[in-house]
């Protein structure tokens, strides 16, 4: 039942004092500590707390009319916007409620467990501080427990991460040494190969002339074939363009509201098709080169390649021979690559060349592998794994949750994925960064008619890694809430039991 308060009784009800009463009177909505701020002067006047120039009779404090621009004259009513109402919440934690929630008919127990905010009686709010305090204590204990356990778990992670870092650093040093050794080996192998090749070169290429004849015939064959292919490609491209035009028109003019799954699927597939275009500029460029340059090259070859030329080589200084050898090798590789020349058969090589080559290739491969390993280790060492490097220990570890029709999986510092009951997984994003307690995953699978999927993982302290919830606040933008020991902070020393006033 509502209590009716007429205007005349309001003033008394709100402040409950005679202006000149000797005994200090309790001001509603003000904490014990601040009660002294509401002492009238000897004339019974009082000034707004932040506006000493505005002076009011003390009777205008809590008279349900806002006089002070800072709202300080109405701590106990809803009259001033922005004012704060103090709930003592005896037996629990005292708190401030925005005064716009005073006497609005809602028991704001979350802040005022004592129900003191609804003093006008629009609703009756019984004091629930006892149960709130019990609940709060229970929750605090749980939080402390979680924090303590989480902090311990985190310490283990940090230790593990430090160990991992140490191992990586050690590995890096080793790799650098190995790389230096391998580079020396390469230099040696290359030198050996060159010498072996030059020494055996007089026996190679003397049969140049018949070979060239065959090459020429082959070239003519290929040129014919290339031309035919180019024509065919032209026709196909024209048809592809036509088909694209048709699909383009469809994708622009169809009505998405029709919900015709067939049309939607077609439009989606077309957009994906466009997205996945490999780009064929290079291919055209290649065709152009092969058509224009080949003839020139071969006409030169025909004129210049005299069987004797090869012979001359043996009279040239070694450096020159090596240079000519290089050029020839390059030309040959060029021809082989384009299928104009058969790859030189190993049988054409002398055993010593083959052996030298093998050694060189092995040395180079080893070097490549070592460098790549080193780069990875170096990258790993400089990557951001959060404070104390803690996520280094978690990287690659995955947790998942079922939500709606999907299972969502999140792998620390790696990727986030959505898996349906049927069909393949959809990538929500690759790891991008850690920032302010959030792990960002970006550049996931593209959405139809939308952006690439992405996910933001909000992390909080927990004893174990666990996904709490998944949502999709905007289409294709996912939000995950997880707990992980990685986010735990050192628990403060247990606070003293609360004041039981």
């Amino acid at each position: 039942m509502r209590i009716t308060i007429t205007a005349v009784t309001l003033v008394l009800a709100y402040t409950g004092l005679e202006v000149l009463a000797a005994k200090p009177v309790h001001i509603r909505g003000v904490s014990e500590a601040d009660q002294s701020l509401y002492q009238p002067d000897e004339n019974g006047n009082w000034a707004c707390l932040n506006r000493p120039d505005i002076v009011l009779p003390i009777s205008r404090v809590n008279d349900d009319y806002c006089d002070c621009p800072d709202g300080s004259d109405e701590p106990g009513t809803s009259a001033c916007p922005g004012a704060k109402f103090y709930c003592a919440n005896k037996g629990h934690v005292a708190a401030f409620l925005p005064s716009s929630r005073v006497n609005d008919g809602v028991c704001d127990y979350e802040i005022c467990c004592d129900g003191s905010d609804e003093w006008a009686g629009i609703v009756k709010c019984e004091n629930k501080c006892r149960e709130f305090a019990a609940e709060y204590a229970k929750k605090q204990a749980e939080i402390r427990k979680t924090q303590a356990a989480g902090w311990n778990a985190r310490a283990k992670l940090v230790a593990k991460a430090a160990g991992m870092r140490q191992a990586l650093e050690k590995e890096l040093v080793q790799l650098e040494t190995q790389i230096a050794v391998s580079e020396a080996r390469i230099a040696k192998a290359r030198e050996a190969l060159k010498i072996a090749e030059v020494q055996s070169s007089s026996r190679v290429g003397t049969k140049g002339s018949p070979l060239l004849g065959r090459v020429k015939a082959r070239i003519e064959q290929y040129q014919k074939a290339t031309k035919a292919l180019a024509e065919r490609t032209g026709i196909l491209e024209a048809r592809l363009e036509l088909a694209q035009e048709i699909l383009q028109r469809l994708s622009e003019e169809y009505n998405p509201n029709y919900n015709d799954e067939g049309v939607k699927a077609a439009v989606k597939a077309y957009q994906e098709f466009k997205e996945s275009d490999p780009g064929d500029g290079d291919y055209l460029h290649d065709i152009a080169i092969s058509e224009a340059d080949d003839e020139e090259l071969f006409s030169e070859e025909e004129i210049d390649v005299d069987p004797d030329v090869v012979e001359y080589e043996s009279y040239l200084p070694l450096q020159w021979r090596l240079w000519i050898h290089d050029q020839k090798t390059k030309l040959r590789e060029f021809l082989v690559e384009r299928g104009l020349l058969a790859e030189r058969k190993p049988s054409g090589e002398t055993a010593s060349v083959a052996h030298a080559k093998k050694e060189r290739d092995a040395a180079e491969n080893q070097n490549r592998e070592l460098k790549s390993k080193r780069d990875n280790v170096a990258k790993d060492l400089t990557a951001d794994f959060g404070d104390d490097d803690v996520f280094r220990a978690l990287a690659g570890e995955c947790i998942d949750i079922e939500s709606g029709e999907f299972t969502y999986e999140m792998c620390f510092n790696d990727k986030a994925t959505q898996k349906g009951k049927s069909g393949g997984p959809t990538k929500l994003g690759n790891f991008d960064k850690i920032d302010g307690g959030k792990m960002y995953f970006t550049n996931g699978a593209k959405c139809w008619n939308g952006p690439h999927r992405s996910a933001v993982v909000e992390m909080q302290c927990g004893e174990k890694n666990k996904i709490l919830s998944v949502s999709e606040p905007a289409m294709c933008e996912y939000s995950l809430k997880i707990v992980t020991p990685a986010l735990c902070t050192k628990p403060e020393a247990e606070s003293k039991p609360k004041d039981e006033l």
Binding site: R101, Q244, R249, N255
Partner: protein, 956 residues
């Protein structure tokens, strides 16, 4: 798209293709008919062209047979006979009986039917269809009293009678006259001796009489083309047209009127454009045909989601209107001509041509004389705006979609966290299990009742969407019951009609059928849907109806409804019947609560059921700009409770656009933010500062004005004066203001609001339509004199001027929802007019139940009198037990503050005023602002301690 040159690299081509695919917002025009593609429109337009080309020699074939006429009990009736030879039927005459009734409510009603379709069965008439022309548009639209006025007097003189003329005086004080002429057929309406409306002025009256389909189509010949008369095909979809051509058409002239308004819904100017080409004009007629128009265009006469065939004509000193009660597809051509183009000073007249596909001709003529009389006359026919529950006037937060209970409650909590009031959170289609209405997607909404209870803690509501398409799925009880009881729309062969919508294959409930309404009530029953919760509101979408695979995205015209009417006959009223069913269902669920239903589709009369919004707009400035003229068009056509998606449905608004849209939206009668599923989240706290604070300020301003918004709705609910008011309502004699549609007066407040709709604007020009004094609402700068005034409008300012002479009421305390404000004290805001007077009204009730209909409300009148400097509060209602009991429930509500703008401080004796109530008097303090140059003084009465429930006076 042109073919790409072979030589160009494909890469370039692909880049170009990609650019072309960038989203450009334009309606899928090819989906919707032009007049040329609608055979009956094409024929009647050609008929008009023929008449025009013959000019004075035009001899239309229709005339009243004088031997058939009679006048009795306020009704003049007889037969119109078409006498030329129709080659398609061989008949030489067709008879069209008419009635011209003069109603007690002051309107005149002209009904024309077709004799052969009323009489004995026509051999060969399609089985399974009603033989009559559809005559129930008025049944759905008109709830008012249609009793003829037996006082209407035949005043025909002998001379007139000799010329086959009938002359009647009718209406209050017999101010109105009608003169009916038999050949050429013409009906002219006069008020106080002056002509205001002429029917068939240009001789375009035309009705297609029933003819069986000729066996030899080649025998057809006509002066007009006869293509597609018995069947047609549009967009690959066949219309069997079993009844053949049955169109009706009539021209209506408003002599001396240069501006006409209304016929929503179109995304166009408020003052309607000409439609026969020319600079700034349209080439197409305005079309009324309810369609789910995807990405509609602005400044277009294309049909949209709703149709109100009501048109108002206004000129200095006079307002008149007509209502064309027809639910079939309708086209309206508008031209404006001078009778003699050479004549100086002769006013233009507006000529209109109304063309409908089927049905009887049923036209109402309202003669004003002023705008509010027109709205009252129209409201007495089609009903007034329902008085909504007050929380429906707060801010609504919607999105396609809030995805789960957690999502909903998080958004709810964020409103409190960011200190922004709101009243209802909305769920679009994704809350359902597979788009099956009345079900929940349990994985996301496992405990909807608990969610609703959580919202109810702060007196907030949940709005769920319920559409008319019912998924065809075995085991889905809602469908099975609909299907088993044959309550769905049927095909022409009597089977259940199935088409595609959100859920895939669906059936459409036929809410023309009273049994379907009962079935619908059953679905909403307490315990069956949303448990026992009472904070459930409903959103009816897609009720044009939208049928994805149907012609023009709607139901085929040859489908059949209850009563054996073809869909073509009832198309534009279907959406109304669906909302009607939903409202009845909510009333049955909670008989003591006022229901709230939002609809997208509407017809004349839909204002009786709830709110409407302007459909799927987009997040660009153009769409913000078009809202104001659209609100005005809806408002004059009786639909006051209207709004537009704040922020724009499609796309992502910039923070500036979003802020400006909230500033405008705070003054939309229906105030809802909404966003498409593919757009980014944009709840008010997301744009960040300064935007969030500006949006909060705009929303709080709305809540502050709620008592006045509610009072304006109350007025609309009994006399039809809209909330969003055009200039001519307050300045009826200023013809220069008739074309102004980017500003409006807000309810009874006298606040002249000009939403900023330009990117980067920092100032604007507000047009003062009259010689009253205007004050800047926020800083009291004074403006005077008709014409444009420059006003600063940086992003933080909504340009609002307060017109002198108005008193309105605010609640200056902010709560978390409208209901939580109900015990808060009130602030009276007084802006004095140039004589120093002001007056205003306050309406209050419990804001949610139907108790107000039994007298449980408070209605007060305030006036400030310059002569004695006294502000008085007086009751405007008869005291009753109900009113007393309501007053008792708010006897703690006082006036905490009175703000008087424009009072000369020199007239005040001291810094106090005297208050009088209940034979007591006391003195109360005032505060006076110092008067700055160009600004008005503000006198604030501090806590006068007068109660809102009683009479009181304050002597300044």
């Amino acid at each position: 798209m042109a073919a790409f040159a072979r030589k160009g690299t494909i890469l370039t081509a692909l880049v170009f293709v990609f650019l072309m695919a960038a989203p450009a917002l334009s309606a899928k025009k090819y989906l919707f008919k032009t007049c040329e593609q609608a055979p009956f429109c094409r024929r009647n337009r050609a008929y008009a062209d023929l008449a025009e080309s013959k000019s004075a020699a035009w001899d239309p074939p229709y005339a009243i047979d004088p031997s058939t006429v009679s006048f009795d009990g306020g009704v003049f009736q007889g037969s119109i006979v078409k006498t030329d030879t129709d080659p398609t039927s061989g008949q030489s005459t067709v008879e069209f009986p008419f009635q011209l009734a003069f109603l007690e409510s002051g309107s005149a009603r002209f009904v024309v039917d077709e004799k052969q379709r009323v009489q004995s069965p026509i051999p060969g008439f399609p089985e399974g269809l009603t033989q009559r022309r559809y005559n129930e548009a008025s049944k759905w639209a008109v709830t008012g009293d249609l009793t003829p006025d037996i006082g209407a007097a035949d005043v025909t003189t002998d001379d007139e009678r000799k010329n086959d003329i009938f002359h009647v005086r009718y209406g209050r004080d017999r101010h109105f006259e009608a003169i009916v002429q038999s050949k050429p057929l013409q009906i002219a309406f006069y008020r106080d001796g002056e002509t205001h409306v002429i029917l068939n002025d240009r001789g375009l009256f035309n009705m297609d009489g029933y003819r069986p389909k000729p066996t030899d189509p080649t025998s057809l010949s006509d002066t007009l083309d006869v293509k597609d008369m018995w069947e047609e095909n549009f967009g690959g979809k066949e219309d069997k047209k079993p009844k053949g051509p049955e169109s009706i058409a009539l021209d209506v002239t408003f002599p001396g009127y240069e501006h006409v308004f209304g016929i929503p819904e179109h995304a166009d100017r408020f003052s309607l454009r000409e439609t026969r080409g020319g600079d700034g004009n349209h080439d197409e007629p305005y079309r009324l045909f309810n369609v789910d128009i995807f990405e509609y265009e602005v400044n277009s006469p294309m049909a949209m989601y709703g149709a109100i065939p009501f048109m108002q004509a206004h000129k200095k000193g006079s307002s008149v209107a007509i209502f064309w009660a027809n639910a079939a597809e309708t086209w309206i051509d508008i031209t404006k001509n001078k009778p003699n183009p050479e004549a100086l000073g002769v006013r233009k007249s507006t000529q209109t041509h109304w063309i409908s596909e089927s049905g009887v001709m049923d036209l109402y003529v309202m003669l004003g004389p002023d705008p509010s009389s027109v709205y009252q006359q129209y409201g007495l026919l089609t009903g007034f705006t329902t008085l909504p529950p007050i929380y429906a006037l707060g801010y609504h937060q919607c999105r396609w979609n809030y995805n789960s209970e957690e999502d909903v409650l998080e958004v709810d909590a964020n409103f409190d966290l960011y200190d922004i009031p709101y009243d209802a959170i909305w769920l679009d289609i994704e809350y359902t299990d597979g788009k099956k209405y009345f079900t929940w997607l349990k994985s996301m909404f496992p405990t909807p009742e608990k969610m609703m209870q959580a919202l109810d803690k702060r007196k907030r509501k949940l709005v769920t969407i319920i559409d008319p398409h019912i998924k065809k799925e075995a085991g889905y009880k809602v469908y099975e019951s609909l299907s088993k009881n044959e309550l769905a729309v049927k095909t022409d062969s009597g089977e259940e009609f199935n088409g595609w919508c959100w859920p895939g294959e669906s059936a459409w409930i036929d809410t023309l059928n009273p049994k379907a309404v009962e079935y619908w009530k059953d679905q909403f029953k307490i315990g069956k849907f949303c448990g026992h919760e009472s904070n459930l509101l409903i959103w009816n979408d897609m009720n044009e109806p939208s049928v994805f695979n149907g012609p023009e995205v709607s139901a085929p015209r040859d489908t059949v409804h209850y009563g054996n009417w073809e869909h073509r006959d009832v198309h534009n009223v279907y959406g109304l019947t669906f909302v009607n069913a939903t409202v009845q269902a909510l009333q049955a669920r909670h008989p003591r609560h006022r229901p709230f239903v939002l609809t997208r589709s509407f017809f004349a009369g839909s204002q009786r059921f709830g709110a409407v919004w302007t459909g799927d707009n987009a997040a660009t400035w153009d769409y913000l700009k078009i809202v104001t003229p659209m609100l005005l068009s809806h408002s004059v056509a009786g639909f006051s409770f209207v709004g537009a998606d704040v922020g724009g449905f499609f796309g992502n608004p910039t923070s500036e656009l979003l802020t400006r849209w909230y500033q405008a939206g705070a003054f939309y009668p229906f105030f809802r933010g909404h966003a498409h599923i593919e757009s980014k989240r944009r709840e008010p706290w997301l744009p960040g500062e300064p935007y969030t604070s500006l949006i909060r300020t705009a929303i709080k301003m709305r809540y502050q004005l709620l008592p006045s918004v509610y009072t304006a709705f109350h007025r609309a609910s009994f006399d039809g004066v809209p909330i969003v008011r055009p200039m001519f309502l307050l300045a009826p004699d200023n013809e220069d203001a008739l074309g102004i549609d980017d500003q409006f007066f807000f309810g009874e407040t006298g606040l002249l609001v000009k939403p900023i709709v330009e990117e980067g604007a920092t100032s604007t020009e507000i047009y003062l339509p009259d010689e009253e004094i205007y004050y800047d609402y926020l800083d009291q700068t004074i403006y005077k004199g008709i014409g444009y005034k420059h006003i600063d409008a940086p992003l933080e300012k909504i340009p609002i001027l307060a017109r002198g002479g108005h008193i309105f009421v605010r609640r200056d305390r902010y709560r978390r929802s409208a209901t939580l404000m109900s015990h808060d004290p009130l602030t009276l805001v007084v802006h004095l007019d140039k004589n120093g007077d002001a007056a205003g009204v306050l309406y209050l009730d419990d804001g949610e139940t139907t108790a107000h209909s039994r007298g449980a409300y408070l209605h007060r009148f305030f006036m400030f009198n310059a002569q004695d400097n006294i502000l008085r509060s007086r009751s405007m209602q008869a005291s009753s037990a109900a009113s007393k009991s309501f007053e008792k429930s708010i006897d703690d509500v006082r006036i905490e503050k009175i703000v008087v703008v424009g009072l000369d401080p020199g007239k005040l004796k001291n810094h106090a005023v005297e208050a009088f109530q209940d034979r007591k008097s006391w003195s109360t303090d005032i505060h006076i602002t110092e008067v700055a140059a160009g600004k008005a003084s503000v006198v604030t009465v501090r806590d006068p301690k007068v109660l809102v429930t009683g009479d009181w006076s304050i002597q300044f």
